[in-house]
């Protein structure tokens, strides 16, 4: 680590004591940015007390050195110029906190992703840009103020929306860790899709029995209140203290209010409904997988269709998935290959002589389900692979049976005409039509219509709405075991915020200066989180922003014609100072 004295004098005089650290990132930065020159060129205002470079600022040794510097020099501001704030904001906020400096007095400057990595062709300019960015960081830090997290008390009560396998299991899990649960189900009966299923893969367990055992578990737990035939129609309050309106009965019926700390959304999926004529849908003998599975589940011997024995069946896979036949759905529905193959094995057991033709694009009996595929082949199922450019066609024959025509990639692209009694369309999991609920919860959905998590790997059940968690197939196609797993993940996340009894929120929220507010109301329409409300005292009206409801997006700030709103951590003063620093880019 090298240290350079920073010349006194600069844009404006400042009484701050700022430490600046510029990182080599082991060469990731210093191969293209002359970090020593950056240190030499930054312009302090007599306020940069320490300026150093380091091979890896994130290393333990450097972190300790920064802590020591902060304490020895009584620093009140910290700037680290290294990588993306996505990577190390919390690292250096932690360094500041350990040194007794308020973490929000720290500014991260990204000179790797935004500088060295993208300007490998011009090291001089890269160095100049890095210098400018560091100056901007110093500029912001001159105006930082200490901030403290908001502490919000939380209610030990969770609302679970959806009484399918994920919601039921989550309700039991929540009750078992000592939280109260209100389980809301739109239908009159609990159990969702799984209650209508017979044998399920991979353990040949009966769906009805699985649900019965879960319902019995729910009944045994007095902490769980079940509301069936009920819908969530309103949400007020903020994280930890939501007031949810639940309507029981038909539209127009009265609502009750349930106060909860968190919400688990487990609303499941709809089976994709093929369009008329999509792979013969609408013709006699063309059925969807859910309907066919019900037929097989209730059969005790060979299948019958319209009084005739079913001698052969064709399955058309990926209907509604992966753009098959030009459909809108692009996702793989994930559960259907294994479900279809399992159903075929089940049917072979009922009728070993039956001919079963599987028209698939790619066989995805992934993980532990692969043996099902082998089992199906051994039981006589024939697998034909089609290309999406040549999708199968279904027609009715003069004798009333069906013919499926498919170009089989595994038989030299021969076009085959298969005579069958039934065609099963292996339909996708589609997002449930839930517009009302989406509006109430303000849940973000992806382009595919399923709810979005914050991070698919690291925060898989949390949503951008604090305290609202998603579980099961409302998030995207899932098998029942995956749905249960995500339901239990939602239990853990609820526990993480509710069991402590309080939660800390990032203090980077917007604040209204009441004196400047003219109550024009523009900010109310700008807030996507309903965090702004009008208040009044006598004749004076002004806007108030709920700190617990505000996500710090900053959407209201530029809307205010009076500049009466400031976003903590990104105040007008901080941002203006950054812009001014950048505007004076050295020649």
């Amino acid at each position: 680590m090298t240290e350079t004295m920073v010349p006194v004098g600069g844009p404006e005089a400042s009484a701050r004591r700022i430490g600046v650290y510029v990182c080599h990132c082991g060469g990731n930065i210093s191969d293209y940015v002359d970090v020593e020159k950056v240190i030499a060129d930054i312009r302090g205002a007599g306020d940069v007390v320490v300026a150093k470079t380091a091979m890896f600022t994130c290393s333990d040794a450097t972190q300790q050195e920064i802590v020591a510097d902060i304490q020895a020099n009584e620093l009140d501001g910290l700037v680290v110029a290294s990588c993306s704030p996505k990577l190390h904001t919390y690292t250096f906020r932690g360094v500041a906190a350990r040194a007794g400096l308020n973490p929000y007095e720290y500014t991260q400057v990204n000179i790797r992703e935004q500088c060295s990595w993208v300007h490998t062709d011009d090291t001089q300019a890269a160095t100049a840009k890095a210098t400018a960015l560091v100056n901007a960081g110093i500029g912001r830090t001159r105006h930082t103020t200490p901030l403290v997290p908001l502490v919000v008390e939380t209610l030990p009560h969770t609302l679970v929306i959806g009484g399918g396998i994920a919601g039921l299991r989550a309700a039991i899990g929540l009750a078992d860790i000592g939280l109260k649960v209100t389980l809301v189900e739109r239908e009159l009966a609990l159990g969702g899709w799984v209650k209508d299923l017979g044998t399920m893969y991979p353990h040949n367990r009966n769906g009805r029995e699985l649900i019965d055992s879960l319902i019995a578990g729910v009944k045994r737990r007095p902490a769980i209140t079940v509301l069936t035939g009920a819908e969530v129609v309103g949400k007020a309050g903020s994280f930890g203290n939501y007031r949810m309106s639940v309507r029981i009965g038909d539209p127009g019926s009265a609502s009750i209010e349930v106060a909860v700390g968190s919400v688990v959304v487990a609303t499941g999926f709809d089976a994709y409904a093929p369009a008329d004529g999509e792979f013969g849908f609408g013709l006699d003998g063309v059925v969807t997988l859910p309907d066919f599975k019900a037929m097989v589940d209730s059969a005790t011997g060979p299948l019958m269709w319209k009084g005739r024995k079913v001698r052969s069946v064709a399955y058309v896979y990926c209907v509604g998935s992966r753009g098959t036949g030009g459909c809108a759905g692009q996702a793989c529905s994930r559960y259907c290959c294994a479900a279809t193959v399992q159903t075929a094995v089940q049917l072979s057991g009922l009728d070993p002589a039956i001919g079963q033709y599987h028209l698939y694009r790619d066989m995805r009996t992934y993980g532990k389900f692969e043996p099902l595929y082998t089992e199906a082949r051994k039981a006589g199922s024939v697998f034909l692979k089609f290309d999406n450019d040549m999708p199968p066609a279904v027609e009715t024959r003069p004798d009333g049976r069906l013919t499926v025509t498919v170009t089989d990639l595994l038989t030299e692209r021969t076009e085959l005409a298969i005579p069958v009694d039934l065609v099963v369309l292996v339909t996708a999991m589609a997002p449930r039509a839930n517009d009302e609920l989406v509006k109430v919860l303000k849940l973000p959905a992806g382009a595919d219509g399923f709810f979005n998590e914050i991070h698919p790997k690291l925060r898989p059940v949390e949503t951008v709405v604090d305290g609202v968690l998603i579980a099961g197939a409302c998030q995207g196609p899932k098998t029942s075991s995956e749905s249960v797993a995500s339901g239990l993940a939602a239990v853990t996340q609820s526990a993480a915020v509710l069991k402590k009894g309080y939660t800390e929120l990032d203090p980077l929220v917007a604040l209204v200066v009441p004196e400047a507010c003219t109550a024009c109301g523009d900010c109310l329409t700008a807030c996507p989180y309903d965090a702004i409300a009008m208040t009044q005292e006598g004749d004076r009206h002004w806007a108030v922003i709920s700190a617990a409801g505000c996500k710090g997006c900053g959407g209201c700030v530029p809307m205010c014609p009076e500049s009466a709103i400031d976003l903590l951590g990104y105040t007008d003063a901080e941002v203006t100072s950054m812009i001014e620093s950048l505007a004076e880019v050295p020649a």
């Binding site: 595929y373 082998t374 039981a379 089989d408 076009e415 085959l416 005409a417 005579p419």
Partner: protein, 396 residues
């Protein structure tokens, strides 16, 4: 492939399975069998494509596949199959199915798919021929073995001729069915086979390949099956044993025909005693020895399941071997009896058995495994034509 839509017969695979052996339901079309097949250089789709036809139910495509008959069941594919399917044995079953498929009388189907009934038919047919001959029997001389006094030579000849005609008609019908199917698939017209000098030249080359090189020369059989038998003495190798049966059978057929021919032109009476070196007799003796040696070891190897090709056996396999062996063994027994000082009574019964079984063997030929002796060269003829036109296509 053709742009025409192929009809699917959902029952095809189950039907082929009735012809024994080779469960390929586990097959997921990976093509490892094709990669390890010695035929891959010529046809990069065998045997996977044939298995696919069977799985999917493409009956016409299966019956018009000449490639079925290029395989000599070396067994490499079954050894390498990752799903433990048995493509090699399945090809054998598919060939049995094809033999039945080309036979419109459905006799072959019965012989293959109903082993008990087939055995009863075989025994009954031999009994019929024996009783038929015996019904016209004469005295059994005790001094010399006067077999044609016992059973009139005329009766044997005439029965033989009738049997031959039946066999020829059935054989021609079967070959025509097969050839028409393959020719249509391959786009081979009658004109392209016999129309003009170039066509005739191609045909002659193809015939030379199918008949001289492969049927008589057993060239490919030797190449494909000798690889893992180098350690065995020559006389115990599968290809030579099979070749000896082929050569013996052809030799005996030739000797019998010549003997009859010599009688017709009046050079030699049938049954007239001739020395061992007499050409026709010498041919018959050598051929008979080859046949008997070959069938004996085929039986031993099959009993011991000595090679991959005979890992499993059907009634049809045993029936052919037994009929061949009995024909050969009784023939030799007769030769030996001629040198005995006096004619034993059992000699006449051996003779009756020989005639009955030989007639049965010929009569059943189109309806049992022996039919491969004709179907395989026909298919190989088309293989040679295709190879020829591919070569022309390259040089053109």
């Amino acid at each position: 492939m053709a742009a025409v839509t192929a009809p699917v017969d959902p029952g095809l695979y189950g039907d082929i399975r009735r012809f024994g052996g080779g469960d390929v339901t586990a097959c997921f079309s990976c093509g490892t069998c094709t990669a390890t097949c010695p035929l891959v250089a010529e046809d990069g789709t065998f045997p996977r494509r044939i298995i696919r036809y069977a799985q999917v139910g493409m009956k016409d495509a299966l019956l018009s596949s000449k490639e079925l008959w290029t395989c000599y069941q070396c067994g490499e594919c079954s050894d390498s199959c990752p799903t433990k399917a048995d493509p090699s044995e399945f090809m054998a079953a598919a060939r049995r199915y094809a033999i039945a498929g080309y036979d419109r009388t459905r006799v072959a189907r019965t012989m293959y798919t109903q082993p008990i009934l087939a055995t009863i038919i075989a025994v009954a047919l031999a009994l019929f021929f024996a009783l038929f001959m015996y019904s016209a029997h004469g005295p059994q001389s005790g001094e010399t073995l006067a077999i044609f006094t016992f059973i009139p030579e005329e009766l044997i000849h005439n029965t033989g001729i009738v049997v031959m005609i039946v066999v020829l008609l059935a054989g021609i019908a079967g070959v025509a069915t097969m050839a028409r199917a393959i020719a249509r698939r391959e786009g081979v017209s009658l004109r392209s086979v016999v129309g003009g000098r170039a066509a005739l030249g191609r045909t002659a080359r193809a015939l030379r390949f199918a008949v001289a090189r492969e049927a008589i020369g057993q060239a490919r059989f030797r190449e494909d099956c000798d690889a893992d038998q180098q350690a065995l003495p020559l006389l115990r190798r599968r290809w030579l044993i099979h070749a000896l049966v082929v050569w013996g059978f052809i030799g005996l057929l030739g000797a019998t025909g010549l003997d009859y021919g010599l009688a017709l032109v009046g050079i030699k009476e049938t049954g007239a005693p001739v020395p061992l070196w007499y050409p026709v007799r010498l041919l018959g003796t050598v051929a008979g020895a080859a046949l008997l040696y070959g069938t004996t070891f085929l039986i031993i190897d099959r009993y011991r399941a000595a090679t991959r090709a005979v890992r499993s056996s059907t009634t049809a396999d045993w029936m052919l071997l037994v009929l061949l062996w009995v024909t050969g063994a009784t023939g030799f027994a007769l030769e030996l009896e001629l040198y005995l000082p006096s004619a034993p009574a059992w000699g006449y019964w051996v003779f009756l058995l020989h005639v009955a079984v030989a007639l049965e063997l010929v009569l059943l030929a189109p309806f049992m495994k022996l039919a491969h002796a004709v179907y395989r060269p026909v298919a190989l003829f088309f293989v040679a034509l295709a190879r020829d036109s591919a070569r022309e296509g390259v040089t053109r």
